[in-house]
Amino acid sequence: MIDFAFVVDIVVLALLLVTAVAIARMKDLFAIVMLSGIYGLLSAAFFVSLDAVDVAFTEAAVGAGISPLLFLSVLKLTGRYENGSHSHAIFALVLVVVTGLALVVGTLDMPAFGDPDSPASSHVAVRYLEESGREIDIPNVVTSVLASYRGYDTFGEAVVIFTAAVGVLSLLGLLSGPREGGESPVRMGDHLVLRLVSEMLIPLILLFALYVQFHGEYGPGGGFQAGVIFAAAIILHSMLFGLQPAQRVARPPVLRALAALGVLVYGSVGVVSMLSGGTFLDYSVLSEDPVSGQHLGIIVIELGVGVTVASTMILIFFAFTSRSDAAHPETSR
């Protein structure tokens, strides 16, 4: 039986493939980055059609928002066109085709797409779906698994994000403070339409990020999604009105402290639960009632994740743009 969701599935996947092939064939890196934004938006749409609403949020903010912007600010430093040298193209094509065919052969005994009895959906996932309502008592199972059942993994991921930001800042440095020589004549903020639309949108995006942060237990959302959405709003502001006004609001020293603080808050919850007699990140001991202890733990660690993600994303963006503005002050916004 062919239903609507299935048609969407096939069409969106075909569009993704077309976009990817176009990206692989083109040489104008600016156009490629724009296409990669479209690719991110398409994959976010695809995740919605596969019920992964939390993932779609994140992919829309990261794949269609932050990642193309990072590429653009790097392109400003490295140049727009690639020189198109192909090394061993035929050999590579053969290698890719052979690898692809081997993988296709590997899929032949995989369970069919959407099979409810597939091994992936019949072990631990069933337990999460059946027991999380009683044990943790929040509707969004993704949040339960992310923040409580697998809180240890998520802690590791928060640390990885923090470490990556430390790496970027130590590689690029952060040139802060007002630049000499005054503002350049052409600013994106001078365009009336852009300015009005963004003035209306930025507060709404910030508000939405807070909603996603604090409503993540009941609907799709949580710290990761809220962090990237919040960062996207600040990044949009600095795209339009320049780096200095954005840095007056989001001050780099404060952001650096917040990035570390978020990880610290997350880790502290683990230590406090150990001191209260439980194991690391076992929130049930945080309160008299295990279920409200779970709620408390999840809210605090989601806050830690949100703060770390938002501040690292903004810091990373500042690090790249401050460098490209310093390299090309005449084209800066």
């Binding site: 096939i10 493939l17 990206i23 790097v74 199972v141 990556a164 009941y218 690090a319």
Partner: protein, 115 residues
């Protein structure tokens, strides 16, 4: 039934397109975009594995008994954010390579190294 495995085959095709860009193109930015496509194909694979026919998003609602698998969603949600952080680190390395060599083309970097 061919359509049963359609998602997985598109994932493989996307992965190979990304793989091809990584090994053939000499431009470091282009390689990173290829790696990005490769990475997204893995995301799509995981989410496809988690889909259950007739299921809905894993947010508990009274009267619904069939949900898609929440576990791949958790893994991929965090992987996306970790992915952008590591991508930023790679881009920072590219910027430093540009500073040191004046180019981001692999061949030219190799020639400078051999001198």
């Amino acid at each position: 039934m061919i359509l049963d495995l359609y998602n997985y085959w598109v994932v493989i095709a996307l992965m190979m397109v990304g793989f091809y860009s990584v090994i053939v193109r000499g431009n470091l930015i282009k390689k990173l975009i290829g790696l990005n496509i490769f990475q997204t194909s893995v995301f799509i694979f995981y989410i496809s594995v988690g889909k259950v026919d007739g299921g809905t998003a894993p947010i508990l609602v009274d009267g619904v008994t069939l949900y898609s698998n929440p576990l791949p969603h958790v893994l991929i949600l965090t992987a996306i954010v970790v992915g952008i952080a590591t991508l930023a680190l790679a881009l920072a390395l590219v910027v430093r390579i540009k500073d040191a060599y004046g180019t981001v083309e692999e061949e030219e970097i190799r020639e400078i190294d051999e001198q």
